[in-house]
């Protein structure tokens, strides 16, 4: 009878497992749809357009790729930028994103789905964010089981930090790189858990894709060795670890060297040395473990004393050679960006061009809450959950989040690497919490199978059901066995184990009331959050969107979702190429000045004319106006940028001479003082002075500052009031409102009436009250 019951139970369990698998598959599908659709706000609110600066370059490269093919792409020398130097695109660009989008476009076209390249580019990021959330599911599943995996995937689909980089239209490297990052980690953990060479090969290939797509691959090639070292030091070495690591280093290094932009750097720069060092260490350790297995303990001791005395000498020699090699290179073998990671003050001290990019600066505290929201509070709980019990996989995740927190603290941009780690941790924390709570309810109500609660935690049903099944079974076995059997438990290790685990489980059980209340509280908190947030968002009219999106989401994610939807819709969807402001009456103004300016350039100037502007606008000018620019966002030549910076901060005549020597016919200046667009050239001007002064010492920053303050009103210094940037920006500004009041700086300008002597205003955007594209022409040319 007991046999029949247990077999019935077994079939019931397999049925439940099968049901759980199908269920989690559908949940994953919905998560993918959610991840995709939450990123479409920018398309809905604006139009299917590419955002920001770098994506325009990527778009242009993709266009070239689809038009000319892969071989021309590798050999592409671009003469429309960095005039007169030009730029070798094929060898200086991470090709992953472009190749991905190019392949997608080619695939769709060969299936007779005629999409334009731009459409494919716009939608690449949302598609890959769906992939990324699936990869998160896989990774977390390897670490802590299906329930945690699903929760983490939902969280990743909606984490604002990741949304900010992957809304439709932000066609940048990070869009595919985060997927590649998570997937590489997943394959590493998978190899570590299974010890299969097949997964090791896949891992190397995923790493290759990561190297192709983003410079952040150095994070992987340093994190994995760190984890291996951690495992070795804590005595967790296993042959699976060897199989996971050693082939990855060899294959990964070779594959990385195949990417032109990395090339020999894969073996020459210090970023990669850690992996080689650990590669050597793991071989030594593997050998030691091998020998240890073959020898008696006494003999092993002898061997150790022998080897250690010889080995120390060899090690010292090796380290000396290594240090000598590294010290002989000028930057100690580290590239500037990596150095600024290790020493946060490095960039501001030596390389103003790195420091001038806002995403290379340390984040502020609010940005943590804006970007990862409630996850920040769940992360510590997740870390604790990872230690119960600590496995190779969970120690990896802990290491990942610790390093990611550090790096995100150094550079805002790396918040993106931190976000998946935070999602994984919070997923683990939430699912563990629900596991404990529902299990304790289950434990005390063996009859009624957790109806309301398990329905509530649809995310966790899977892992939870397994647990429930286990607890039930143990409960029954406990009932069947009379207490006298406990005396014989020494003889029956199986029984002993089950009883011990039962006791452990009972220790974890919370009182029924407490757990019910806790679950209700969690759900209520979610609902409350929705209400508050809805009130806040009502003004922003997100409410209608919310209710539709909400139905898709789980209850657990609801309270977070509101913030995420708001972030996705409002904060991150703006393409920055089309601007909107709310007027005082609540109406919406759309400024399309950027595109207007570029259109003016492409229609009114000669094909070979050179346009000078600050480097921010370089990519857009080449992509949208199709004109040659002097500098662009690929800041590879500091001197060239400094030349433009010097010209902008010089008086008119000197500036004209510089621009004339560069064949420049038009100067593009972005000015937002009239409508209050804060990131215009006047606000970036101090960086121009700094970068220019770094190369040409006659430009001195104090000349532009009055008592250390940057001002453009009547207190401004004469150097400031006479420099080209000031003159171009405020030329005829007084004619707009009679007072020349700058709405960004909140002040009246210092010098209102002046004439341009060497330049001439060609066009300003006039349809709207903002002058962004001021193409100025040199009259004597």
């Amino acid at each position: 009878m007991a046999d029949g019951e247990s077999s019935r139970e077994a079939t019931a369990r397999t049925l439940r497992n099968a049901f759980g698998n199908v269920f989690s598959f559908f949940i994953l599908l919905l998560i993918g749809i959610l991840a995709f659709s939450i990123r479409l706000f920018s398309v809905i609110k604006y139009e299917s357009v590419i955002h920001e600066f770098d994506p325009y370059f990527n778009y242009r490269v993709t266009q070239f790729l689809t038009k000319n093919g892969i071989y021309d792409f590798w050999n592409w020398f671009d003469d429309r930028t960095w005039y007169p130097l030009g730029r070798v695109i094929g060898g200086t660009v991470y090709p992953g994103l472009t190749l991905t989008a190019g392949t997608l476009w080619w695939l769709l076209n060969s299936l007779n789905i005629p999409l334009s390249v731009e459409t494919v580019c716009v939608f690449t990021a949302p598609i890959f964010s769906a992939f990324a959330s699936w990869a998160t599911y896989l990774l977390t599943k390897e670490v802590k089981g299906t329930g945690a995996g699903l929760t983490a995937a939902v969280l990743l689909a909606m984490v604002p930090s990741y949304i900010s980089r992957s809304v439709a239209g932000s066609y940048d490297n990070e869009a595919v790189a985060i997927f590649a990052l998570i997937f590489t980690f997943y394959l590493y953990i998978k190899t570590l858990n299974t010890g299969s060479l097949f997964y090791a090969t896949l891992n190397a290939l995923a790493y290759f894709y990561m190297v192709c797509s983003w410079g952040g691959y150095t994070f992987i090639i340093n994190l994995i060795p760190m984890h291996v070292l951690l495992c070795i030091v804590t005595g967790r070495y296993s042959s699976r670890l060897y199989i996971a690591y050693a082939p990855l280093v060899v294959l990964g290094t070779l594959l990385a060297a195949l990417v032109p932009v990395v090339g020999f750097n894969a073996v020459m720069t210090s970023e990669h040395f850690a992996s080689f060092l650990v590669f050597i260490i793991i071989h030594v350790v593997a050998l030691v473990y091998h020998v240890k297995g073959n020898l008696s303990p006494r003999m092993f001791k002898v061997a150790v004393t022998l080897v250690v005395s010889v080995g120390l000498v060899v090690c010292c020699a090796m380290i000396a050679v290594l240090i000598a090699l590294v010290a002989s290179s000028p930057t100690k073998g580290w590239s500037g960006r990596s150095l600024s990671l290790l020493d946060p003050t490095y960039a501001s001290k030596y390389i103003p061009i790195i420091a001038s990019v806002s995403e290379h600066q340390p984040p502020t505290w609010p940005s943590y809450f804006m970007d990862i929201n409630v996850l920040a509070f769940l992360v510590p709980a997740g870390i604790i959950a990872c230690f119960l019990p600590l496995s190779d996989a969970s120690s990896f995740v802990v290491l990942y989040i610790v390093t990611a927190v550090y790096f995100s603290g150094v550079m805002v941009r790396l918040m993106l690497v931190f976000a998946p780690a935070a999602c994984i941790m919070s997923g683990i924390a939430l699912s563990e919490a629900f596991n404990v709570l529902t299990r304790s309810i289950k434990f005390q109500l063996p009859g009624s199978s957790g109806i309301s609660q398990s329905g509530d935690t649809s995310m966790n049903t899977e892992g939870e059901q397994n647990d429930i099944a286990k607890t039930e079974k143990m409960d029954e076995t406990a009932k069947e066995r009379p207490s006298k059997k406990n005396k014989r438990k020494e003889k029956e290790p199986v029984v002993k184990a089950s009883i011990r685990s039962r006791i452990e489980r009972r220790l974890l059980v919370l009182p029924l009331e407490a757990s019910v209340i806790a679950i209700i509280l969690l759900v209520l908190l979610g609902a409350f959050y929705v209400k508050v947030a809805c009130k806040v968002d009502a003004a922003l009219n997100v409410h209608a969107l919310l209710t539709s999106t909400l139905e898709k989401s789980s209850r657990v994610g609801r309270w977070k979702l509101v913030h995420c939807v708001w972030a996705a819709a409002e904060a991150y969807s703006a393409p920055s190429i089309v601007l909107t402001t709310y007027s005082r009456e609540g109406g919406l103004h759309v400024f399309d000045d950027f595109r207007e300016a570029y259109a003016w350039l492409s229609h009114n100037t000669e094909v070979d004319d050179k346009v000078a502007s600050w480097w921010d606008y370089g990519y857009q000018t080449t992509a949208m106006a199709n004109r040659t620019v002097i500098v662009d966002n690929n800041t590879w030549n500091n001197t060239h940028i400094a030349t433009v910076g010097t010209a902008m901060s010089s008086p008119e005549k000197a500036a004209w001479e510089i621009f004339n020597s560069l064949d420049v016919k038009y100067v593009l200046v972005v000015f937002g003082g009239l409508v209050g667009y804060p990131s215009d050239d006047i606000n970036k001007f101090l960086w121009m002075v700094r970068i220019g002064g770094g190369v040409f010492p006659h430009i001195k920053e104090p000349d532009y500052l009055r008592d250390g303050q940057y001002r453009i009103d009547s207190q401004a210094t004469p150097t400031m009031l006479n420099c080209l940037m000031y003159k171009l920006s405020y030329y005829r500004f007084v004619e707009t409102d009679g007072k020349a009041f700058d709405r960004v700086r909140q002040t009246e300008i210092g010098k209102k009436y002046f004439k341009l002597t060497h330049f001439e205003e060609k066009a300003s955007s006039t349809s709207s009250p903002k002058r962004s594209g001021t193409g100025k022409r040199n009259p004597w040319h």
Partner: protein
């Protein structure tokens, strides 16, 4: 003191050798293969030190090809070793198939990189 050390060393070598003679022949063949690969790598490094590393990609692919095959063979040895309890349920055929696949990828990359 010196005497005990040398006798200890002798005993050590003796026990090492006796432990090694009991390993199956297939594993010994793999060991030989690994030694051969490492030896080839060392020769190349010596050659590079003497003559110079001018076509650096050729040198790199040569050395890494040897190191790579050695590493993969070690992995194979770990997986097919009967004494290793971690890989009990992994069939040796499957291990060999994985090994071949990994080698194929490795040498495809190397051929590409030789350039």
């Amino acid at each position: 003191m010196a005497r005990t050390t040398s006798s200890d060393a002798q005993a050590l070598f003796h026990s090492l050798r006796s432990a090694y003679t009991s390993t199956p022949t297939s594993l010994k063949i793999i060991d030989l293969y690994v030694c051969f690969a490492v030896f080839t790598a060392i020769i190349q490094v010596v050659y590079m030190a003497v003559v110079g590393s001018f076509p650096f990609n050729s040198f790199l692919s040569g050395v890494l090809s040897c190191v790579g095959t050695a590493v993969l063979a070690v992995c194979l040895r770990i997986q097919v070793n009967k004494e290793n309890k971690e890989f009990k349920d992994l069939a040796p055929e499957r291990a060999f198939a994985d090994f071949v696949l990994c080698n194929l990828v490795l040498h495809l990359v190397i051929m590409n990189f030789l350039g």
